[in-house]
Amino acid sequence: MAVLTHSRPGKAPPPAEQPPRRVGFSQRLGRWDVKLSPYLYISPFFLFFALVGAFPLLYTAYVSVHEWNLLGGQGEFVGLENFADVLAQPVFWKSVANTFSIFALSAIPQLALAVTIAALLDQNLRAATFWRMGVLVPYVVAPVAVSVIFGRLFADQYGLINAMLGVVGLDPVGWHSDRFASHLAIATMVNFRWTGYNALILLAAMQAVPRELYEAAVIDGAGRVRQFVSVTIPQIRATMVFVVITATIGGMQIFDEARMFDHLGMGGPSRNWMTTVLYLYDVAWGNQKNFGRAAAVAWLLFLLIVLIGLINFFLTTRIATGGGDRSTVSRKRTNAVIARARVDAQAARAAAGVNRSGTAPPGGAAAPPGAPPSAPHRTGQHDRGEHR
């Protein structure tokens, strides 16, 4: 023990953090060790937060009330003039509208799809890891790369999407000239990258749902869809809230996809797909080089995000708790119900003298998850599958 501890200072990890040094000191004063170390362990996070989180946010407020230029630096105090300037810009409002439009077009289908995919994956699949990994592939493609690839797929001429529309007999869509179409294209990129990721997070939550609840539902005669709506959704409520909030924060900050949608990167000829963060970038590092105004944009966007986040939070909790007491099912009671039902079913079967041999089709998910008596017949099938 002593040998080990003596060697520790030499093996201190490279970042010049305090824990290793303090430990050597605290060995003689164990009490201080216990009292101090929690604070030492959490301090790196708070240090970094102070430096690159809190300070910038507050300093943004300071910059936003000053004349401030990329090249010239700090100018004089101007009060709320920057905010007034920004709010008077039609381009700012257009960017806000674009952001909302792209966000709505991406968040809603994305979450619906993610929940569906998660439900598909939340079954007793063969090669489950393969499917789960496959769903995650888009996540490793950088948004800039996604944007260039989809920019090509959505090209107005010779783009694959328009070519396919042509095959079906539809007119080509001006993905880069029509405002709504460009939003749809950008939302598609966002969805492509994030749907699988969200599906996996939701799947993780689904897997944590106690299986007894499904057993109870099956015994009550609930079908697949009913089980999903009445058991799965209320049970994964917390994760749903998490995913919605993350999607909101991400959706309000869309930049990469919009910037790379064409090679000029300024949101299109009439700023049709310029998002607010792209606008912020343009004000600060584009033509205007006006940090004061850009900081004002940042604060306005921050307020928007907080607002949307709060609305979202209340909406999701409201909707998710709409299912009432179902989410607070007592496990004890469920188990009691199951036990009783099993005994009853067994007794009923014994009375009928039924022991039909397994007639269920192989992997018969196409058949609705029927009444309890049909369930045992599938178990043989299932056992064989699991030994693979």
Binding site: P19, S26, M260
Partner: protein, 305 residues
Amino acid sequence: MTSLPVTAQTAGAGAARAAARRRGSRASRAASRRPGWLTYGLLAVILAISAFPLYYTLLLGSSSQEEISQQAVPQWLPDLSVLNRFAEVVASSQINFVKALTNSVIISVTASLSVVLFSTLAGFAFAKLRFAWRRGLLVFVIATMAVPTQLGVIPLYILMTDLDWVGKLQAVIIPAMLCPFGVFWMTQYLSSALPFELIEAARVDGASMFRTFRSIALPTAAPAAAMLFLFWFVMQWTMFFWPSIVLSSQNPTLPLVVQSLQGHYFTDYSLVMAGIFLVTFPLLVIFAIVGKQLVAGIMTGAVKG
């Protein structure tokens, strides 16, 4: 009726539950039977859609400029000519591909390693140690998750200018060391995975706090730490907004290479696409190797709430 209900009545709910479980969880098997072809069909379609864009880059990368400008899909199978395009991208003097690759590796590895270390330290403290304001501070950490760090870019840029870090890697690495989600993740994981008894045993044996952390908490945290590492690695590897502001094309990261490809060669889509595939390829390889663990890590489900 059989004697089973009697057992249930006399021995209480726990015994009844155990008995019910022993008697064969038939209903549970019904709920977990194999899905049918429809599920696999739908998943296959989703998989095809997920993989197609990358495959498409290979297709365009192995086509000539003329073919691309005339057809949406010039050919259905990539050929070896894409290798020449790869060589062209790597050798191009305008986009510093090799430098970008090195930079991306350095940034992603250092940022992820430090995030894992700091998050595990903080997570250990929040999950297992008692100290004043513990709850309040943890709530604070979670609240910071909602603060979009992107919005502080202007002061951060001013700060980097003052430090004379613009164009240098540390300007990207230092802000990337903040990951509230990591702290939250590790707290969640360690509070369920690390038994108090183990810590107490170590303390009784005379281990200091840091030694307890190093020999008890750190090994326990390994699966969640691996997951966090990969998550943050991908985040940093694909990050574009901040590096595009603070770095230059002389000292780029891989996403910046995509930008300059698009800027310099936007008429030569074949080259642009080959470059994009090259940028994504390293992550694909890593993903193929450790994807299983990544998925398993997500499945350990820290976000159960």
